[in-house]
Point group: C2
Chain length 497, copies 2
């Protein structure tokens, strides 16, 4: 918390480059000491940063701010748009909201970026060839949190995938690959099952890939991809994927690499970006000069690339690799074979500083492209309008009986010559007309009406259908309009249809 002293020098060193404003949170537990060590290394490496220290975390929570951030701090973040954050402690007890969720939503940080590497033989690992970056979509998918209980038996969560959201994350992944000297981007989806939502993700991936001809690409079905990542991570480079899949595979990658203490994370958005280690504040070892600053330091390297100082980032990263190679380590990464030089937090930072300008000899040196910083678009991309026609409606009904034919007889008359009941499904399996006796039915029925020949549908016609259904005593609980877009149906068929 007493870090203000070195800051003037910090800026003086980097006179040739315009200093980039950065909000720095010293954090809780081991936070202040590892942040101090990291800033010293970045400074010595030539980073041009104009630091504004902010308070986040335990003290702020205890002052009564339920998200761990004081209102005035937002002004700093809105100004710097860049946050370098040490781990914080969320106090025990209820009523405290996740600081990271609040920051992510408020600053529109749509991308979570997680590089995970192995540094064999210098750091023990089961997966020596691993060097993978996972780029996870952060805002949509099932995590939009839109859930409805519709009947006694059936609960629903909406999975939303948007074109602009997908374009942003996929483009970010390719830009990240280009600027970080990476040659391949893999897409993970389940588009063999979810042909519309995951199909959109895959299709946008293929389209944007064509703009990056120097980058190799492939696509993996999520189950097979996750299995290969778990067994053979060395075959992957950059992976871009949706929110849920990314949540799962980024935890797998961090866990199997066996070096959680070395892993950085970035959250990137149009209105701000945040860089941190993935580990916690480890209060038990706080203040003892034993914590490993590497995760936070590598987050600082990511921040420098993001902020347009790739050569400084390269210098610091290569010196860090050389330090690891030379066997200098904190207690958490003592080599299995023994040997090396055990140092403390500050000693580790000094060792990296002493190697600035040196390159690793066994580990591959990093190279960051000297490209201008590519800020994510703050403005949404232009909308592509399709010719849209409403051609039917799915009406979901809460109905306690099990006989689909009886339900069909109840529903059919309300079509009234305008709409024709064409299909009923239960949990996605067609049960009318012509279902199978073995299908277990719940109390949640999807009844599909299509427009009768020559009828043009509009929202009023579909509201009138619902009025007739209500009068017939049908307890409908939701509707989904069926539309075509440029003549292509925007709805799936049921299994068996």
């Amino acid at each position: 918390m007493t870090l203000l002293a070195p800051l003037p020098q910090f800026e003086a060193t980097a006179q040739s480059v315009r200093a980039v404003p950065v909000a720095v949170a010293m954090g809780d537990g081991i936070g202040p000491e590892i942040m101090g060590a990291c800033l010293a290394v970045l400074h010595a490496g030539g980073a041009a940063l104009a630091i504004e220290e902010i308070e986040l975390g335990e003290t702020v929570y205890k002052e009564g701010h339920s998200s761990g951030i004081a209102p005035a701090t937002w002004d700093v973040l809105r100004r710097t748009k860049l946050l370098y954050k040490a781990p914080i402690t969320t106090p025990q007890g209820g009523g405290y909201k996740s600081l990271n969720v609040t920051l992510r939503k408020s600053l529109g940080m749509f991308a979570n970026v997680r590089p995970t590497g192995a540094y064999a033989p210098f750091v023990t690992t089961k997966h020596p060839g691993m060097d993978v970056v996972i780029v996870r979509e952060n805002e949509e998918d099932l995590y939009a949190g839109i859930e409805h209980r519709q009947t006694d038996e059936v609960y629903q969560c909406l999975k939303l995938v948007s074109r602009p959201g997908t374009e942003k994350i996929v483009r970010y992944a390719f830009e990240h690959a280009r600027r970080n000297g990476r040659g391949k981007v893999s897409c993970f989806s389940k588009d063999n099952i979810m042909k519309l939502t995951d199909g959109l993700f895959h299709q946008i991936f293929d389209a944007i890939a064509r703009e990056y001809p120097e980058i190799e690409t492939d696509h993996w079905i999520i189950d097979i991809g996750a299995a290969r990542l778990a067994s053979n991570p060395g075959q992957f480079d950059v992976i871009v994927t949706g929110n849920l899949y990314g949540d799962i595979i980024s935890d797998i990658a961090a866990e199997i690499a066996g070096s959680v203490g070395l892993a950085p994370s970035a959250n990137i958005g149009a209105h701000g970006a945040m860089f941190e280690a993935i580990h916690g504040s480890a209060p038990l070892i706080a203040g003892r000069d034993v914590a490993n600053p590497s995760g936070l330091l590598l987050a600082g390297v990511m921040m420098l690339v993001h902020a347009g100082q790739p050569k400084v980032a390269e210098r610091v990263h290569n010196a860090w690799l050389r330090t690891i190679e030379d066997g200098v380590h904190t207690a958490d990464t003592a080599p299995a074979a023994g040997g090396g030089t055990l140092v403390g937090t500050q000693g580790f930072a000094d060792a990296v500083i002493a190697r600035l300008g040196q390159m690793p000899r066994q580990l591959a040196p990093v190279h960051y492209a000297d490209a201008p910083p590519v800020a994510p678009q703050a403005e949404p991309p232009a909308r592509v309008r399709a010719e849209k026609h409403t051609v039917g409606i799915d009406v979901f009904v809460h109905w306690d009986n099990h006989d689909a034919a009886e339900l069909a007889a109840l529903m059919q008359p309300s079509g009234a010559g305008v709409l024709d009941l064409t299909m009923i499904s239960n949990r996605g399996v067609k049960v009318w007309p012509g279902g199978m006796a073995e299908t277990l039915t719940t109390d949640h029925w999807r009844c599909r009406y299509m427009a009768c020949p020559g009828v043009a549908l509009n929202p009023a016609v579909l509201a009138e259908l619902q009025l007739r259904l209500a009068r017939a005593g049908v307890a409908f609980v939701k509707t989904e309009h069926l539309c075509t877009f440029d003549g292509v149906p925007g709805f799936s068929l049921s299994q068996g249809q």
Copy 2:
């Protein structure tokens, strides 16, 4: 295909037990030879099976049946309710449907059961302690395949979780644990995010767990659980989870075990059960007596337990373990250290037969409980009715502007003193009243109306709201009624609400 000869003996051996009718598909490629080997072992072990051979797969596809099964074959499956299936070949080219999806849907097979074990040091593996069974829900979740494109920008897939579907799969997992001598069942879900759908799964798991006090239980958030499974599978025993999560983690388990050729799989339902190896028909090595019959043999062991012959299952399984221990192996599982006895498909079966009655000495012997077979309930469980009240509606609107306040002004009057517009969100984030300028908005808006004080809602009132909206020119695309069940809201709040 010439297996009918031994069948009479097969039944004669087992005079003391009533022979269980089983449909057997010899399959394609290596199918006939490994199935022949497996039946010989099961027979010698004392299995009482009344076999009816059926044709499935390549020949049937080529005869013009697009699902790989002829109509008359259904009669056999409906009678036996038990299918022992060798791998089949789906011909190249379009128009062929997945036989397994057809069988699963038609026979209502709600559970996919995948045991994965390591047999170190006898079979090379990175995870020596692994012995995990994954019980995956097979019918609902996102894989119900209900998708809608709703606007130019936004696509949706419904995730459905039902109480009876969840009760069936969770109960099956506990019954499987009890009958297979397993001491722990873990539940994987993401109920910290999806509090209604995954919350239901977790809550039903906890409730059913109380009926099995001898079985230890725990719950893992899917991302952390998958990561632990990938890094340390030895800590898990039986895992029960939803369709998508189960799809991902069962592939991870099979892949990291490093012994795909040894892994069996079962699909269990009220109207039928199917047992098979997880590997394919390997046409390149067909007819050469080199294929490993172990995966299919262990599937046969699962079938015997399922069919109420646990002691025969135990005898065969322990003889197989002893065979592996004795270094008898087919070419695919040659020990890394060399040595052992290389045999062919038939030779391997002979070696297992020669060891019937023997127990493994280093590997843990298996024990199957001599409990009566517990068939899954064919009838759906009794419905629990809650006191349900409709209290509002979410109306989703396709709107091309970006100003939420303007949309609110357009929507509000249609409430007409009956319903009050209380919130608008975009991709789950509240944007009105009081949203943040930084939130990127798509053309897909969720507008929440709640009943005005003293107003009782019903479907007709909600249809009338839509009529007014249609007249006001609002292009709504879907609705979700908001209900309380026994006083508990059946809908989530938006982020920021």
